[in-house]
């Protein structure tokens, strides 16, 4: 069963230099919320930003990772 810490590490490995916060929403290891700030998102549409994150986990999203809620920002967004 994946943990929030594991998801955070894998996103950080895939997107070097990113700031990542992952929360296990239910405590059950299958519903997660990830907030990511990365310069890799620069110039990408929101759809492509989210696809970049989903791509880290491949088929696990919808499988062991039942739900992964994502919020993406670039360092310049300052939101």
């Amino acid at each position: 069963m994946p943990t929030a810490e594991e998801l955070k590490r894998r996103i950080e490995d895939a997107l070097p230099g990113s700031q990542v916060a992952v929360e296990d929403l239910t405590g059950g290891g299958d519903h997660f919320r990830a907030e990511i700030v990365s310069d890799r998102f620069e110039g990408l549409s929101r759809i492509d930003q989210h696809k970049l994150v989903y791509g880290v986990f491949g088929d696990e999203v919808g499988g062991p990772i039942h739900a992964l809620s994502i919020k993406t920002q670039t360092p310049g967004d300052g939101r």
């Binding site: 759809i47 989210h50 989903y54 088929d59 999203v61 919808g62 992964l68 994502i70 919020k71």
Partner: protein
């Protein structure tokens, strides 16, 4: 029903419905919190939309994800274009982008405070 028939039905649904939501359950009885929030955004905007429940056959979700290259449900399409899943639709609702995309006024109320629209366009689900 073959996988090709399912994929062609999905393509037709996206092509023929200006606002097309693929979800778990229905707008009246959503079967997942993410689907509920996404249909709630559309309800709050008061737009008419078609909704298709992907739960009756696991192949619907598989074929849909092959079309959209998006792994999760719900998925919203407007005028044939993929808009996003729950997170993106919610962000766009809150920022007013969704209202703009759909050509309606941004409501003052939030998502939860509006009842489900009367009579969403019922798509006959022949995929079950």
């Amino acid at each position: 029903m073959t996988n090709e028939e399912i994929r062609s039905y999905i393509a037709k649904a996206i092509g023929e419905n200006e606002v097309m939501l693929f979800m778990k359950g229905s707008p009246d009885a959503p079967a997942c919190g993410f689907s509920m929030r996404t249909s709630g955004c559309l309800n709050a905007l008061g737009v008419r939309y078609a909704a298709l429940d992907i739960l009756p056959d696991p192949r619907i979700r598989k074929e849909l994800s092959a079309v959209s290259n998006w792994p999760t449900i719900p998925q919203l399409f407007v005028r044939g274009e993929f808009v996003g899943g729950c997170d993106i639709v919610t962000e766009m609702f809150e920022s007013g982008e969704l209202a703009e995309l759909l050509g309606v006024e941004q409501p003052n109320e939030g998502i939860e405070e509006r009842p489900v629209q009367k009579g969403p366009i019922g798509l006959e689900n022949r995929l079950g």
